[in-house]
């Protein structure tokens, strides 16, 4: 304890019992640290347990494992890699589509002064509020209908999956763009035009740098959501051409083999790697809260 501390505390109304005040503050700090550690453990436990078990020799979930091995990783069947590749391609397409739809929509919404703006805004955001399982059911229904009426086969195809995923991922980009535009004066565009910049130059030099963090963050979320998506995909996928999470889900229903734990461990490590890389390259905090 430094000598200045009681001074400070007295100013804060602890004049009567300075020593007790210090004790209170210390125990409170300890309590906060303890709660934080417990909360973190609670949140991390399932992930940690899966990683631990994936290195165990036991066929069935045993904690702690009776022996250690990396065998399960070598026994991951090739179809897991195929579906992982499918998931990566799908998530990439979905991310690109989300940006291409979300940026213009977000800019339009941010700029517009039309009366129906709130309504359009609500419609654009609505996929985030509808349960994914409902969107899955509706997509199945809609794709079947299209197939029967105009012969457009979207069920089980990459296009079909990409469309369904983009419906729920594009809003992430839209919301980010609207939020980042809302912080700045609409006069910025007028200012750029008045200084001689064309519409395209204005977008390139003024608008895009301002919305860039939101676009990057939105793409990141779009990719993660698509890559991780089960409820919608489950309805519109076909056997043999399923995404990685769906393949894992279906396999886990049949039997909880340690192979799935191995896949889970790999995915977790890859995700952590991706987030770290993202944070390193772009800055996670910067992306979440522009400027």
């Amino acid at each position: 304890m430094t000598t200045t501390e009681p001074e400070t505390l007295r100013q804060h109304g602890y004049a009567a019992h300075p020593r007790r005040a210090v004790w209170h503050r210390r125990s409170f700090n300890g309590f906060m640290v303890l709660s934080a550690v417990l909360a973190a453990l609670f949140l991390l436990a399932p992930t940690l347990i899966v990683i631990v078990i994936s290195f165990g020799t036991d066929r069935f979930m045993t904690l702690p494992p009776s022996g250690w091995t990396v065998d399960w990783f070598g026994r991951i069947p090739p179809r897991y890699f195929e579906s992982a590749w499918l998931s990566v391609r799908l998530a990439t397409i979905v991310t690109v589509a989300s940006v291409m739809l979300g940026v213009p929509a977000g800019l339009g919404l941010a700029r517009s002064r039309m009366r129906a703006k709130a309504l359009v805004d609500a419609i654009v955001r609505s996929p985030l509020q509808v349960p994914f399982v409902v969107i899955g059911v509706m997509s199945l229904f809609y794709y079947s209908l299209l197939n029967r009426t105009v012969g457009l086969g979207l069920l089980g195809t990459m296009t079909g999956l990409a469309i369904a995923h983009t419906i729920v991922t594009a809003p992430y980009v839209v919301v980010g763009v609207v939020a980042s535009m809302a912080k700045f004066d609409v006069g910025l565009e007028d200012a750029a035009h008045g200084l001689g910049a064309s519409r395209f130059t204005t977008f390139r030099l003024v608008i895009f740098p301002i919305i860039k963090p939101a676009v990057v963050a939105g793409s990141f979320f779009a990719f993660l959501v698509s890559f991780d998506e089960v409820p919608i995909t489950l309805f519109i996928t076909v056997a043999g051409a399923a995404t990685l999470p769906v393949t894992m889900f279906l396999d886990a229903e049949l039997q909880l083999s340690p192979v799935i734990y191995a896949v889970s461990s790999l995915l977790t490590l890859m995700s952590i790697g991706a987030v770290l890389l993202f944070a390193r390259v772009v800055g996670l905090r910067g992306a979440m809260a522009p400027q």
Binding site: F184, D185, G187, L188, D190, A191, A192, H193, G194, L195, G196, A197, S198, T201, L205, V206, P209, I210, Q291
Partner: protein, 373 residues
């Protein structure tokens, strides 16, 4: 560099509202013209149309003899300074100032030189690598001005540029803007609702009300010879009385209450019927005894109320012969309510406001002093 601009029957509707109503206005090259009026009078709308950010409903905008009304802002070469600065937050001060040059494909070294030159003009050279959000409001506004001036525009539009600044800073910025404008000789259209700002800075002032120009004249004429009741009441304080014109031999006179007031100024009023006359509070002397001056108009009265204004007292004096309460501006602490006094002014200080619509005046009768908000 300096260009002239002219508005011809410029009109703009917002739905059914006529925001700008057939405005004719001519600004000469190098002139500093202020559009002065209360909010909603259409002054900002005119400037937005001049900049090309808003399409007129009808009418024409002529720059150096050529119509620009169909040109987009990019092609007009008019610099605009916005009230909320509209600086690009992701660029440094120097990049902001150089933006218009970068867009015009100037060479990098030239851009740097010109940006440095402009920053020196607005005295912000040491802040060239700062980002705008790190600067104070006054600094940001100077960056905005430097940015608007850097591409050597044909003229500069300023839409309430000092509106967001506190009073002390605004005072300093007014001097600063005026100095820069004089130094460059750039044609300037300035929008404000602040009469002091307009009187101090302008070569000419266009006083606006309800989408129309009420009067377009030098600050001196606007203050001393208001051409309408609106101008008389909006600019400065004024004791304004409805009067009846009476012929008094050679000079013109007006009957206010039971008194007859002689005017020595130029005669603007209609030759008969009702008129509006007034005297500015600072032109009225308040005395214990009548002075011995020959030419003064003098009336006895009684002090009713004294309002402290910091640099002066506003003294309200009931003058029975005028049947009016007259407000005079006096040194502070001289008078208190109940005191019997004399009010005096020179006939040349009488302001005569020409007016055609007598019925409108009758309804406002009894209003003493026009105090602008």
């Amino acid at each position: 560099m300096a260009s002239s601009i002219e508005f011809r029957a410029l009109t703009r509707y917002y739905g059914a509202l006529r925001a700008v109503d057939a405005v004719d206005l001519e600004v000469e090259a190098g002139e500093f013209v202020t559009l002065l009026g209360p909010s909603g009078c259409g002054k900002s709308t005119i400037v937005r149309m001049a900049g090309g950010f808003l399409r007129p409903t009808s009418g024409d905008i002529i720059v150096d003899g050529r119509s620009v009304v169909h040109l987009p802002p990019q092609a007009r070469e008019i610099g605009t300074v916005f009230q909320h600065y509209a600086l690009f937050p992701h660029m440094t001060v120097a990049e902001n100032v150089g933006f218009g040059l970068r867009v015009r494909k100037w060479k990098r070294a030239q851009i740097r030189d010109r940006a440095d030159e402009m920053l020196e003009l607005v005295q912000l050279s040491s802040f060239r690598d700062f980002r705008p959000p790190a600067l104070s409001g006054g600094m940001q506004q100077r960056v905005a001005l430097a940015r608007a001036l850097a591409p050597r525009p044909r003229m500069v539009l300023m839409d309430e540029p000092l509106g967001a600044l506190d009073v002390a800073l605004r005072d300093m910025m007014q001097r600063e803007l005026k100095r820069i404008q004089r130094e460059l000789g750039v044609t300037t259209i300035y929008v404000t609702h602040d009469q002091d700002e307009a009187l101090f800075m302008s070569d000419r002032i266009a006083v606006m009300s309800a989408g129309k120009v009420e009067q377009y004249a030098t600050p001196h004429d606007i203050y001393h010879h208001p051409r309408s009741r609106f101008v008389a009441e909006f600019v400065g304080r004024l004791n304004l009385w409805t009067a009846e014109r009476v012929d008094e031999g050679a000079s013109t006179a007006y009957r206010v209450g039971d008194a007859c007031i002689i005017s020595a100024g130029p005669d603007d009023a209609p030759s008969s019927g009702d008129a509006l006359v007034g005297v500015r509070p600072e032109r009225i002397s308040v005395l214990i005894q009548p002075s011995i001056g020959q030419s003064m108009l003098r009336f006895p009265g009684r002090v009713e109320e004294v309002t402290f204004r910091g640099d002066a007292d506003l003294v309200a004096i009931d003058v029975p012969r005028l049947r009016e309460v007259v407000t005079a501006q006096c040194l502070t602490g001289l008078w208190e309510p109940g005191k019997e006094v004399w009010v005096e002014w020179s006939p040349s200080d009488l302001i005569v406001v020409p007016t055609a619509n007598a019925p409108f005046l009758a309804q406002d009768k009894g209003e003493g002093v026009g105090v602008p908000s």
